[in-house]
C-alpha cells in the first residue's frame, strides 16, 4: 500500500478526533478529551503502519485492539464504533490508496477486532475473578467477625463485668455439668460473702466498694484459682470444687479463701481489712441438683454469719430440716390468721385476799390443720423473729378485747383481760390509736384491759413508746411488767414508768415449795420485793403458783394476786367465769 496522490492531504488528526468522538460515552474513560485524542492519534499511526506493512503484519492490529481495552475503551459499543469509523474514514483521512486496499482493510479490521475481543474477554474474566475474590474475603471477614462477636457475646453472657470472674450463669452451667457428668463422685461449694460490706459501701462510697470487690475477686482467683471462682453479684462469691475427696478438701479451700480475703487491701489509698463468711456444702453428686446445692450453701452461709462471721460453717442436714420446718410454720401465719386458725385461752389472776378472779391472761393457741393445737412457745418466738408478731399480736389484742367486753353479768365487777405485747408492737407508732379504737368499738372500759410487757421490752423501750404507754395508763389501761425478776430491771427505774403491776416470775415461786432452808431465802427476797412494790404503789401478782402451800406463803408475805395451776389452768373464758368466788380459794381441777 502506498500513499496516494493526495498523500499531502493526509490528516491523521482529523481521523483521531472523529474516532474519539465515536467512542466517547461507550464506557467511562478516565481521561480528558485531549488525552483521549492524543492516545487515538498515536494508535492511528499504528493502524497506518499496519496497512503499509509488507507482508501484512497481523500483530499490529491486535495490539491496537488490546491497547484500546487497556485504555478502558472497553465495551461492545466501543468496538462497534471503532470498526465503523476505521472502515469509513481511515483510508480517506490518511490519503492511502492501494489495489488491495479493501482486502487490507478487511484484514486490519479483523486483527483489531480479534485483539480487542481477546483483551476484553481477559479483562472481563480478571474483573470477575477479582470481584469474586473480594466477595469471598468479605464473607470470610464477616464470618470471622460474627464468630468473634459471638465469642465476645458468650464471654459477656458468662462473666461478671466488674471482676471479670465467671458469673452465675457459668457457675450454674459448670455445677450442672459436675453433677450430671462422670467427672467425680462428690462435689463441693463454698458460698462466700464479705462481712459488713454494706458498711464499707455506705461509708466510703460505691466506687471504693467496687474496687474492693475487684481486689477480693483477684485474690480469690490467685488463692484458689484451680477451682472455679464466680461472682454472683453484690459481695457474694462462690468457689466450686468440682472433684471433692470429702468435706476436709472443701474446708481447706474455704480456709485458704478466708485467709486470702483477710489480708489488708489497699484500695484507692484506703487500707481496708475485711473478713468473709463461708457456707460449705460437700456431698455426693447423686441425688442433688444445682438449685438444692446452692440453697443449702446459702443457708449455711447464714449460720456462719449468725455465729459472728469471719468463719466457715458446714451444711448440716438435720439443722437445715429444723429450720425449714420453723420457716414453713412462720410462713403459714398470715394465711392462718385469715382462715381463723388462732384462738384464745385464758388463765385467771386470782386475788389472794378473797379468791375473786381479778383478771384473766389471754393465751394464744393455733389450731394447725396438720400439727394440731400448738402452744405459743411453738410459734411466738418465730413470729417475733419475722415481724409477724405485729399482725398476730394485733389480732390477739382485738380478740381479747372483744371477748372480755362480754364477760360478767353485772352482779359483780367483771375481771380485766391481760394481753401480752411484744416489743415490736410497743414500738409501733400507732399503738395508742389502735388501743383507743378497740376500746371504743368493743365498749370495754379501759380499766378492764391490762397490757403485759416483759422486763426487757420495758428496758429497751425508748422515749416515744414510753410516752405512748403513759397516755394509755392515763386513759386507765393497766400496764403490767411480766416475768419480773428475770432481767436486770431495778425498782428505782420503775418509778418513772407508767406501770401499775408487777408479775413476779415463776422461778421465785418455785423455791417456796422446797423445804427449808433454801426456801427461806426465796421467801425473804419475795417479801422485800412485795414491800418495795407496795411502796411504789404497784400491785404484785405471783406467777406459776402450783400448790396451796405456795399460795399460803404468798398470802402471808402480802402478795396481792396469784396465777398458776393451783388457781386454774388455761382454758376457755367461760370455764373461769362460772366459778363462784366462794369456791375460788380451792384448787381448780
Amino acid at each position: 500500500m502506498t500513499d496516494g496522490p493526495e498523500s499531502d492531504r493526509s490528516c491523521p488528526g482529523a481521523f483521531a478526533r472523529a474516532w474519539a468522538k465515536a467512542v466517547s460515552g461507550t464506557s467511562y474513560l478516565p481521561m480528558t478529551q485531549a488525552q483521549l485524542e492524543a492516545l487515538l492519534h498515536r494508535l492511528t499511526g499504528r493502524l497506518a503502519e499496519a496497512l503499509r506493512s509488507e507482508p501484512f503484519d497481523q500483530r499490529i492490529g491486535q495490539q491496537v485492539g488490546a491497547e484500546l481495552v487497556a485504555a478502558h475503551i472497553a465495551s461492545a459499543e466501543g468496538l462497534g464504533r471503532t470498526v465503523e469509523v476505521i472502515q469509513l474514514r481511515l483510508l480517506r483521512d490518511l490519503g492511502l490508496v492501494a489495489d488491495d486496499g479493501e482486502d487490507r482493510m478487511a484484514r486490519l479490521l479483523a486483527t483489531v477486532a480479534t485483539g480487542y475481543a481477546r483483551a476484553l474477554r481477559d479483562r472481563t474474566l480478571d474483573e470477575q475473578e477479582s470481584i469474586r475474590r473480594a466477595a469471598m474475603v468479605a464473607r470470610a471477614q464477616a464470618e470471622r467477625a460474627l464468630r468473634d462477636s459471638e465469642a465476645r457475646f458468650r464471654h459477656q453472657a458468662n462473666h461478671d463485668p466488674l471482676t471479670g470472674l465467671p458469673n452465675r450463669a457459668l457457675l450454674t452451667e459448670r455445677l450442672t455439668a459436675a453433677i450430671a457428668g462422670r467427672g467425680a463422685d462428690r462435689v463441693g461449694v463454698c458460698f462466700l460473702d464479705l462481712d459488713r460490706f454494706k458498711v464499707i459501701n455506705d461509708s466510703l462510697g460505691h466506687q471504693i466498694g467496687d474496687l474492693l470487690l475487684v481486689a477480693v475477686g483477684e485474690r480469690l482467683r490467685q488463692a484458689v484459682g484451680e477451682h472455679l471462682v464466680a461472682r454472683l453479684g453484690g459481695d457474694e462469691f462462690v468457689i466450686l470444687v468440682e472433684r471433692s475427696g470429702g468435706a476436709d478438701d472443701v474446708v481447706r479451700v474455704a480456709e485458704t479463701a478466708l485467709a486470702a480475703v483477710r489480708r489488708p487491701a489497699v484500695v484507692a489509698g484506703h487500707e481496708l481489712t475485711v473478713s468473709a463468711s463461708i457456707g460449705i456444702v460437700e456431698q455426693p453428686v447423686d441425688g442433688t441438683t444445682p438449685g438444692e446445692l446452692m440453697r443449702a450453701a446459702g443457708s449455711t452461709l447464714h449460720w456462719a454469719k449468725a455465729a459472728g462471721g469471719a468463719r466457715w460453717s458446714v451444711f448440716d442436714a438435720d439443722r437445715n430440716e429444723r429450720e425449714l420446718a420453723r420457716y414453713a410454720l412462720s410462713a403459714a401465719i398470715p394465711a392462718a390468721l385469715e382462715r381463723g386458725e388462732f384462738l384464745l385461752d385464758y388463765q385467771p389472776l386470782t386475788s389472794l385476799r378473797d379468791g375473786a378472779v381479778l383478771g384473766m391472761e389471754a393465751l394464744v393457741r393455733w389450731r394447725h390443720p396438720q400439727r394440731g393445737l400448738l402452744r405459743p412457745d411453738a410459734f411466738i418466738g418465730l413470729a417475733e423473729e419475722t415481724g409477724l408478731i405485729v399482725p398476730l399480736g394485733g389480732w390477739v389484742l382485738a380478740e381479747a378485747c372483744r371477748e372480755a367486753a362480754g364477760w360478767g353479768d353485772g352482779s359483780a365487777p367483771a375481771p380485766f383481760v391481760s394481753v401480752n405485747l411484744a416489743v415490736q408492737q410497743v414500738r409501733r407508732p400507732g399503738l395508742v390509736d389502735e388501743v383507743r379504737g378497740l376500746l371504743r368499738r368493743t365498749g370495754l372500759p379501759p380499766e378492764r384491759l391490762q397490757l403485759e410487757l416483759t422486763e426487757s421490752t420495758m428496758m429497751s423501750t425508748a422515749e416515744e413508746p414510753v410516752r405512748a404507754l403513759r397516755v394509755l395508763a392515763d386513759l386507765g389501761v393497766r400496764i403490767a411488767i411480766d416475768d419480773f425478776g428475770t432481767g436486770y430491771c431495778n425498782l428505782a427505774y420503775l418509778r418513772g414508768l407508767p406501770v401499775t403491776e408487777l408479775k413476779v416470775a415463776g422461778e421465785f415461786v418455785t423455791g417456796l415449795r422446797a423445804p427449808e432452808p433454801a426456801s427461806r431465802t426465796d421467801e425473804r427476797i419475795l417479801a422485800s420485793l412485795v414491800s418495795l412494790a407496795h411502796a411504789l404503789d404497784l400491785t404484785v401478782t405471783a406467777e406459776g403458783v402450783e400448790t396451796a402451800e405456795q399460795a399460803d406463803r404468798l398470802r402471808a408475805i402480802g402478795c396481792d394476786a396469784a396465777q398458776g395451776w393451783h388457781f386454774g389452768r388455761p382454758g376457755p373464758a367461760a370455764r373461769h367465769l362460772t366459778r363462784s368466788p366462794a369456791l375460788s380459794g380451792t384448787p381448780a381441777r
Binding site: G25, T26, S27, Y28, L29, P30, M31, T32, Q33, A34, H72, A74, S75, R123, T124, E127, Q128, S130, I131, R133, A134, A135, V137, A138, R139, Q141, A142, A145, L146, S149, R152, F153
Partner: protein, 269 residues
C-alpha cells in the same frame, strides 16, 4: 445506629449492590448476575443511566484534579464504591505523590476489593463504615492515622447522598463532618436530582428498581443541595448539573440535565 457494634453484616451477593451496579454502568465487570439484572432493569426505565454514571465519574475526576492542583493533599472519600477506573488516589497522587486518601464504604465487598487494589499503597487505605455514622468515621484509627485534620481535607460524598434518607438527617451528618475540618478544607457533593423535571415516571421506576437493592434512592433538588453546603463557600460555578461543573470542552455541556446528577464543591474559610 440501630446495628449494635458487635453484630457484623452478612454477605449476600444475591442482593443487587448499588456499588456493583454503578460499576456495570461504567462498563466494568466487577459485578454479579443479580447486579447486572437490576442495572439492566434500571436502564430499561432510565436509558441514560450509564451516561449519568459516566458524567458523575467525570465530575469526580475533574473535581479531584482541581482540588489537587489547588493544593489539597488529603481526601476522605465516603461511599467510594468499587475501585474501577479513575480512582481518587490515582488522580491525586499523579498530581502530588504524597497525597493521602481514605476510602469509606458500607458495602463489605467493595471494601474488600478496594483493600486488594490498595495493597502496597502507603498513601491510601479503606475502611468499612457508614456515612450515617460520621463520628465513627472521624474516630476510626485508619482515618486518624492517615489524615491530619489540622490541615485541609477534601470530604467527597459523590453519588452517595441519594442513598441517605431524610430521616437519617443528612444535614446533621454533614455538620458533624464540617466541625472536624480545618479552614481550607472542601466538601464535594453530588447526587441524583429531579430538578426541573416533572414526574416522567422515570423517577418512580428508578426508585422501584433500587428498592430491591441494598440502597434506596432519595432525589433532592438544587435548593436542597445548596442548603447542604451550609457553612461552606461554594466554588464557582456552584451547584450545577455535573457536566456543567468546570467542563473541559464546550460540547460536553450539551443536554447537561440529562446527567440527572447535580453537584458542587464548597470550601471552608
Amino acid at each position: 445506629m440501630q446495628r449494635p457494634d458487635w453484630a457484623p453484616d452478612t454477605i449476600d451477593i444475591e442482593r443487587p449492590s448499588a456499588a456493583r451496579m454503578y460499576d456495570y454502568y461504567l462498563g466494568g465487570s466487577h459485578n454479579f448476575a443479580p447486579d447486572r439484572a437490576a442495572a439492566r432493569a434500571m436502564m430499561a426505565a432510565v436509558p441514560e443511566a450509564p451516561l449519568m454514571a459516566q458524567a458523575n465519574r467525570a465530575f469526580l475526576r475533574r473535581v479531584v484534579q482541581y482540588l489537587a492542583e489547588s493544593g489539597v493533599r488529603q481526601f476522605l472519600d465516603i461511599g467510594s464504591g468499587i475501585p474501577t477506573v479513575g480512582n481518587v488516589h490515582e488522580i491525586a497522587q499523579r498530581v502530588a505523590p504524597d497525597s493521602r486518601v481514605v476510602y469509606v464504604d458500607v458495602d463489605p465487598v467493595a471494601v474488600a476489593h478496594s483493600r486488594e487494589i490498595l495493597a502496597g499503597n502507603d498513601g491510601a487505605t479503606v475502611i468499612q463504615e457508614d456515612l450515617r455514622r460520621p463520628a465513627a468515621i472521624l474516630a476510626h484509627p485508619e482515618v486518624t492515622r492517615l489524615l491530619d485534620f489540622s490541615e485541609p481535607v477534601a470530604v467527597m460524598i459523590v453519588a452517595v447522598l441519594h442513598f441517605v434518607a431524610p430521616e437519617d438527617r443528612p444535614a446533621e451528618v454533614l455538620r458533624t463532618l464540617r466541625d472536624a475540618l480545618a479552614p481550607g478544607s472542601h466538601l464535594v457533593l453530588s447526587q441524583a436530582s429531579d430538578d426541573g423535571r416533572d414526574g416522567t415516571g422515570e423517577r418512580a421506576e428508578a426508585e422501584r428498581v433500587y428498592r430491591r437493592t441494598d440502597s434506596q434512592l432519595w432525589f433532592r433538588g438544587r435548593r436542597d443541595l445548596v442548603d447542604l453546603f451550609d457553612g461552606f463557600d461554594l466554588v464557582e460555578p456552584g451547584v450545577v448539573w455535573v457536566p456543567q461543573w468546570r467542563p473541559e470542552s464546550p460540547e460536553s455541556v450539551e443536554d447537561a440535565e440529562r446527567a440527572v446528577f447535580m453537584g458542587g464543591v464548597g470550601r471552608l474559610s
